[in-house]
Symmetry: C2
Subunit: 253 residues, 2 copies
């Protein structure tokens, strides 16, 4: 047998060719975030295709989060900076349409977030540490005022941990999966939960994580994060998910 491998003889759509070329120009760095592509009318000349074809290609790139189009005088298609948003969308869509269970998402989040805490404990800058402290302070101040502003401060705290991990990939994926979990939880959130008690518990857990990070205790920060997330989502897990969490080092009742 020779080593020749035949490529699938898939029909080559015109708009796909356009997508490929622009996509390649973006990922290879020829055009960078913030740059503007030529206008649709100009692109249709450059690619020698009609405007609907150009537009379909731009729609695909837009759905991938690579570009955004603005009308007006200095408008046009613009290359976007990478953002976790489209990744989060994929997570959510995938989870909703069927295959991912909440357990899987929670496992994934535990893995990412505990690692981020480990990294943050070792690599944080003074500024990042004080940002975490600020967020904790705001949580303490808002714990009586209602869940909205408290949740914002909570999110800020975790965001500053991601930032202190000095790993963008971890940050992006972590935030994407967190957002996806939030959306799924919205569907089944038990409205009767005692909110003020939940806030107190969140605050307590975050304080523990913060303390470990502040003293540079990587292992401790990772453990605290694991247990915090595990106990937060405990009630939503199926049996296999719980066993998995224990394998990952989280303590479950």
């Amino acid at each position: 047998m020779n080593n020749v491998t035949f490529r699938p003889a898939v029909a080559v759509l015109t708009y796909e060719r356009v997508v490929e070329q622009i996509e390649h120009a973006i990922v290879s760095g020829v055009i960078r975030p913030g740059d503007r592509l030529a206008s649709e009318r100009e692109l249709m000349v450059q690619f020698s295709v009609s405007r609907p074809t150009i537009r379909e290609a731009l729609r695909v790139l837009q759905a991938q989060g690579l570009i955004a189009s603005k009308p007006g005088g200095r408008g046009g298609p613009e290359v976007l900076a990478p953002s976790p948003e489209t990744l989060a969308r994929s997570f959510t869509t995938m989870a909703r349409v069927a295959s991912l269970s909440l357990s899987e998402l929670v496992q994934f989040r535990i893995v990412l977030e505990s690692s981020a805490c480990q990294l943050a404990a070792a690599l944080h800058t003074p500024e990042q540490l004080s940002a975490m402290g600020d967020a904790i302070g705001r949580m303490e101040a808002e714990v009586a005022n209602g869940s909205d502003s408290f949740n914002r401060a909570d999110l800020d705290f975790h965001a500053s941990i991601w930032a202190a991990s000095h790993n963008d990939l971890l940050q992006i994926c972590g935030q994407a999966v967190s957002g996806s979990i939030l959306k799924l939880m919205d569907d089944r959130m038990d409205r009767a939960t005692d909110k003020s008690r939940a806030m107190q518990e969140s605050l307590e857990r975050d304080r523990t994580i913060f303390a470990a990070i502040a003293e540079g205790n990587s292992a401790g920060a990772g453990d605290s994060a694991r247990n915090a997330i595990a106990s937060y989502f405990e009630q939503y897990l199926d049996e296999d998910g719980a066993r998995g969490l224990q394998a990952l080092g989280a303590e479950i009742d």
Copy 2:
């Protein structure tokens, strides 16, 4: 301050409305995978919009992996079963566009793969365990025959670990990041490396991981995986990356 929150006054695009409606019909289960949507010409009547608008909407849904269109007599847009492919795609795109450093990718891979090993140790089925054993056996047999078939067996071994983790999300992201790392390594791989020694070392590390998984030792499997990946990529890391790996629990010289 009252609690009124204003929604961003974003312009409502016609094709977006079409996407929303079809998307909602899919995720809510009104139409299921395998079902066919009406043809473009029929949809344009149902939505009271023109065909280009319908087509742009369908392109977006297609880019999200929700539908696929087929021409011909019994053709038309068809709802697809959920597949990890689009998630993997947006993941790879993100990794590329965000211009991530090799250190970040390696950190991320260590996090995912060690977790997969922990999960695999706890959750593997007998079949999955024997698949790992088979792969190890093939590696031993091929270690003298050259790096190509050896590498294939190596990949098979790791793939069976991902499968045994029982977490599709972990698997998808892990394989995506592994692929990204391979692409980056291709650019800077030192061709002079002693291949047969490298193969011996890989085999040795994989044996250690396999033994820990087989005896259900989650913590041990995770540690072995961390150290295996860390020592494999050690020479390519910058100083910060190495510090991060130590924070994650890997041993580095």
